[in-house]
Amino acid sequence: MCFKINFNSYGEKAIIIDFKNNIDKNIYVAWQSELCISLQKEFHDILEDVVFSFSEITLFFKILPNRVHEKKISTWIKNFSLTKQHILRNLWEIPVCFDEVFSEDLLVKSENNSITYESYISEFLKCIFEVHHYGFLPGFLYLSGLPLKLHLPRKPTPEKYVAPGTVAVGESYVGVYPQKSPGGWNRIGRTYCSFFNNKNNPPCYTLPGDKIKFISISLDEYQSQIDKIHQNNIPKSSSFEIIY
């Protein structure tokens, strides 16, 4: 993998590396996340955080960065990109209840839409999503891979309360709410699996580049499992390897 590295200042102590013109954002998610973790480890004396989003990596410095730091980091990234990376990731099966009590926004949307409620869910269950990145809230997953016909526009005014475990669609992304919070995405289902636990380290078990498949469960099954949510309910998974 080879690309141009452009550094842009963001405030005094952050630098943005712009990837917009370099890489296909959907293909290299796992690679980008490994790059960020490795960068943070390698330069822990000067970097306090490394974050990637859709088309850029942001380096947060502990100190005021200078040209020497930029040069060092840029050389290191070039070497990383030329080294073959074997990356292990998981495919997770997440049980979701699509009962109408949990999918009220989908009911409303399907009334004014070409796609019916039933066919939306059946198409949704055929998808394999990719964990893109965390954002918005601790452990809030942005999942990519939603086909165009299943995109739902964000609500003009966010709901004041969205329940933890809510599976929701915002434009082209699917998200899972880790905690109760306000939210403007469309609620289509509910899972009893928690993607964030502050008692665990790491507190989130999924990594960018992981795959997620949703499995439909009944309301009865959801209710029988929901009480176990505090017992570290980690879903089923199988691992796979990606080589860059």
């Binding site: 842009n8 200042s9 963001y10 405030g11 005094e12 952050a14 943005i16 996340s33 960020c36 973790i37 943070q40 306090e48 955080d49 490394v50 974050v51 990637f52 989003s53 859709f54 088309s55 850029e56 942001t58 947060f60 005021l64 200078n66 040209r67 990145h133 965390y134 954002g135 918005f136 809230l137 601790p138 452990g139 809030f140 942005y142 880790p178 905690q179 964030f196 502050n198 380290n201 790491p202 507190p203 989130c204």
Partner: protein, 287 residues
């Protein structure tokens, strides 16, 4: 033996804050830490803490605390009445508290937030590398009535206050750097932003909303990293300033970035206050 403080009354919104939680932004953790870093650092220096130790950050109305042992204490930030038992205490001046002493802060007279520092710092429930309270990473988002909070103690202090440890002056002109999106804006919009007086709307530790000019726009932006002090422009034309407990990514264009001192200043302002922006150049001298 470690001493502790007992919370008799938590005040309006009081939380434990150290310098913040770093290394976890990629999991969606906000950095947390003090809203007014300037006053936070001042408060720590006053009690002889060489590093940025954990303090209490109070908002609007301060707490009432009972001490179980000896400790040097200082209060920085907003102008606020401070009482140790019945004795009036000055802002930005360290004082001694011992078993049975009660410290009480009133309601702010000018400013919004205060920092109460303790020699050695607070040491209650460090999680993911930080004492800063942020729910649901920590069990609670604020201190609670009846809670006991441990103090490290054991630091001697010199009662010498330097002149530079005075408050920031509450100037309503906030210094900013150009944000990543700034140069994509049309000149007309740039000028409008720099010549508009914005009114502070709803605000908390996550964000400050500002409204003012007619800045309606049709910019579509992608979700990208934001950090405390980032000014985002919404399609309706309001501004959202990300604060300490704010999201790590945001979907609106990042037009400006507040300097660290401007972030401290903004966090001393509340709803209704009018502010404006002034562009600062990056200091390239260190390069």
């Amino acid at each position: 033996m470690k001493s502790f403080i007992k919370i008799i009354d938590p005040g309006f919104h009081t939380s434990i804050q150290d310098n913040g939680r770093y290394g976890y932004r990629r999991l969606g953790f906000p950095v947390s830490g003090p809203m007014d870093k300037y006053s936070f650092t001042t408060a720590n220096k006053l009690v002889g803490n060489f590093k940025d130790e954990a303090v209490l950050e109070t908002t609007f109305k301060g707490p009432k605390l009972l001490f179980s042992g000896p400790c040097v204490v200082a209060v920085s930030g907003a102008i606020i009445p401070i009482f140790k038992n019945d004795e009036n205490i000055e802002l930005n001046k360290p004082f001694f508290c011992d078993l049975g002493d009660v410290l009480e802060l009133g309601v702010v007279e000018n400013g919004f937030r205060n920092y109460i520092s303790f020699s050695g710092g607070l040491c209650q429930n460090k999680i993911f590398g930080s004492y800063s309270q942020y729910y649901p990473i920590s069990e609670n988002g604020t201190i609670t009535k009846g809670q006991n909070i441990k103090i490290k103690g054991g630091v001697t202090y010199k009662n010498k206050i330097k002149n530079e440890l005075n408050n920031l002056s509450f100037d309503s002109k906030l210094k900013v750097f150009e944000g990543p999106y700034w140069n994509n804006l049309e000149n007309e919009l740039k000028n409008k932003i720099l010549n508009t007086e914005f009114k502070i709307g709803s605000n908390d530790r996550m964000a400050y909303r500002l409204s003012g000019g007619v800045l309606e726009n049709k910019i579509s932006s992608f979700s990208a990293s934001v950090m405390p002090g980032t000014v985002q422009l919404t399609p309706k034309g309001d501004l959202i300033v990300v604060m300490r407990d704010g999201q790590v990514t945001g979907g609106y264009p990042r037009i400006l970035q507040l300097t660290e001192n401007s972030q401290s200043l903004l966090s001393q302002f509340r709803t209704g206050k009018v502010i404006s922006f002034e562009i600062s150049e990056y200091d390239k001298s260190h390069q």
